[in-house]
Amino acid sequence: MSDTPKLYACLYAKEFPAQALLRLRPELHNLPCVVMDGEPPFQQICSLNTKARLLGMDHCMTRIEVDTFPNSVVLSRSIQTEAVTKGILLECAGAFSPHTEDLSEDTACICCIDISGTTNLFGPPEILANTLLERVRSLGISAQVSVSSNFHAAVCLAKGLSPRNPIQVIASGKESVVLAPLPLTVLDLTEPQKETFAFWGIHTLGMLAVLPEEELIARMGQEGKRLRQLAHGNCAHLFMPVELDFVLEELVELDTPVELLDSLLFVINVMLDQLVLRAKARILALASATITLSLEGGGSHSRTVRPALPSTDIQLWIKLLHLDLEAHPPHAAILAVTLHAEPGSTSKVQSGLFSPQLPEPTRLDVTLARISAIVGEGNLGRAVLEDTHAPEGFRIEPFALPARDSATIAPSQTQLSMRKLRPPETVSVRLQNSRPTALVYRERRYVVEHAYGPWLAEGDWWNQTLWGFEQWDIVARAQDGSLLCCCIMRDLMRDEWQMAALYD
């Protein structure tokens, strides 16, 4: 074992149900908010914010009592949101050490971090505690941090710290002195133990610590010995680290069903803010974002956006998500929003000095999404030719900046090109000896000067999409002398003459 002295930092976030719900709702921060738990009508306050406490509200108040306070915001407890938020806190703690233990209680989130030997990396414990607290604050959670060489001393102190003085570091050997003024509530006492200590007139850890050990054991058993060690700050602990998965996910349950996408964007903005913050803490960017909307009536609507390069630009993400949701709107009102992101590396690609000017990938993504909103999905992209002789022998794939050059050689002579008519226009054709001699196209009559053909093509006869054409290249002239070079087709399935393309 290494001889590095043990050092633990404890992060304590009280009123966790309220904090988890208010984290992504900055508009409620200045209002008295209470979180109710339980089955209606027996709901009780399980957590509340400072404003509500100052108004006189307290835990275990019933719904009727809460209703007597005007302007108070009543939220119902969301275990799912708390779990997500706790995961975020643990992940934030995990940035300082992979040894993190989760000691969360019902309405408080406690995590203890083994920070032994991190002085060279994060500085002395005071600075580490400050950094940790700042990180946690940027996540929208207020917490207290204590550092001690004893695990339980750190936990007890963190529970006893006031929000005004959220950081305290216990020097090694001074545990019992620092813990002495703390009330007994920082220990998880059972009801009989609480009663006994109250009966004895023991109110602080200091008073508990000076009780004679043998007599205490005689009256309270081995549990009494443990409590006395806790009060002394020398109780041993077996550290059980949690294994953390790095999951970039945020969840918001809306108070009222939302139908307008624009108002949803405010929520998404806050969520993205948090996701980007967490990704940046690991020097990562967001590679793709999946938004899942829980809808009224039990359905859900999920969309994924993946730009060409991973990005931490919140405006870009908002724009892409907005355009995507506008193109594919949910069919019912929205009850909850889950935003899941995949992390990607932030590595920047260095373009060559003499490489040709290309569109900037992130701007191109937004531009393509905007154009897609204008012309409709599937109407833009790059054409890929298919191995077929069918008239529309291509498919459209999403446009992306090509990574490597595929050799294309420009032909040596000018090629005559075609303008396809989609859909083909009907023409009436006069035939002589089964060759076209005249045609009427767009209400003009043309006399055929040269007719080349017929070129026969057919395919897919084994399928329902069978097609067959007889093609003619026509050079025709109208009465006013204008020339028409075109390709006309006789659809063998319909027996109908069509103008397929113009040579231009």
Binding site: T367, M418, K420, M493
Partner: protein
């Protein structure tokens, strides 16, 4: 009385925050050029089409405008740049573009006004009539193979069979004149896919083109704002002039400014000039002539072009001669051949 130059300075400084150098004419620019790949055209334009400006290709249908545009894009994609084709009437043909040498991976194709891009090819439900699905009648008798009914049942239908032999024609009383033979009606086999004559599709041309033109103009705006596209072709070659000419001139002016900023060439294909003074170069294509080199295959056309407008032509010398300068040839022609024609 302040002099004109002082006044000008005052006005310019007052407007400086809105319009930089309001009263100073824009300096003449010698633009970089990009070759079109058509030799006679490049020679006449001293290198090719201007970069960062609007070039207009005007001409009737079948005059060779698309060939010029595709040849220009081929030259751009070959050197690794990307370009965009804004297709107002959905007439772009990828196969021809590939044949012209365009790297399709470097071409963004935007189709405007297409409501169902993924409409599958017309399916023809080929269903056999029901009578073919009915099981064949059970053969009876010896000829149906063994294990059939007993031979004595063979005589059961004999009277019907004899009756059917003695048809009315044979049994009816007849007079002396020869019987009038009823001609057998010819049995016709009709194709059993739905008749096409009833479903006559309305040509899309009859619809007003405003929505797709509006889409195309918006898309071009977006592409120019994005930047990085070396060429943007706005293909309005299939639109009637009365529609195209109603696009406000401010649009072209805006495009000109955006093109100058992002250094992309805008190629405008129309039937009638519409960009007016915003166009740096106007190529008027005249009606083409068909080439009749072969009897069996169509070989191509001979295009004629006239340079209707070219701004800021470079004058070799600063001294203005008294005589009229020798004018450069502004009418030329070349052959555009189909891809199946060999080199001549």
């Amino acid at each position: 009385m302040p002099s004109a130059s002082v006044l000008r300075l005052q006005i310019e400084s007052a407007l400086a925050h809105k319009i930089p150098s309001a009263l100073t004419p824009a300096p003449k620019m010698v633009r970089p050029i990009a070759a079109t790949g058509i030799e006679p055209l490049d020679n006449a334009m001293r290198g090719g089409l201007p970069v960062g400006a609007i070039s207009e290709l005007i001409g009737p249908e079948c005059s060779g405008r698309t060939s010029v545009a595709l040849s220009f894009l081929a030259q751009i994609t070959v050197i690794g740049k990307v370009c965009a084709w804004v297709d107002v009437s959905n007439t772009f043909d990828p196969a021809t573009a590939a044949a012209a040498g365009i790297n399709l991976a470097r071409l963004l194709w935007v189709r405007c006004g297409v409501s169902h891009p993924d409409a599958a090819r017309a399916r023809r439900d080929f269903v056999l009539p029901d009578r073919y699905f009915a099981p064949p009648p059970v053969k009876r008798g010896l000829h149906g193979g063994g294990f059939g009914s007993h031979p004595r049942n063979e005589v059961k239908g004999i009277s019907d069979a004899v009756a059917s032999l003695l048809q009315q024609e044979t049994t009816a009383p007849r007079c002396a004149e020869p019987p009038r033979r009823t001609r057998l009606t010819q049995k016709t086999f009709e194709p059993n896919y739905p008749p096409s004559s009833t479903i006559r599709r309305q040509p899309s041309r009859s619809a007003k083109p405003w929505p797709r033109m509006e889409q195309a103009l918006h898309v071009t705006d977006q592409l120019l704002q994005c930047g990085g596209f070396s060429a943007v072709v706005l293909d309005m070659g299939g639109m009637a002039p009365e529609f195209v000419s109603r696009v406000p001139l401010a649009t072209w002016f805006r495009y000109r400014a955006a093109a100058e900023r992002t250094q992309s060439s805008i190629l405008l294909m129309t039937q009638h000039p519409c960009a007016k003074s915003s166009a740096e170069l106007v190529l008027q294509l005249l009606p083409a002539e068909a080439l009749c080199d072969e009897i069996t295959v169509f070989t191509g056309i001979k295009s004629h072009v006239e340079m209707a407008r070219q701004r800021f032509t470079q004058i070799a010398d600063n001294i203005l001669p008294l005589r009229k300068l020798p004018q450069s040839v502004n009418a030329l022609s070349w052959h555009s051949r189909t891809s199946w024609t060999g080199r001549r």
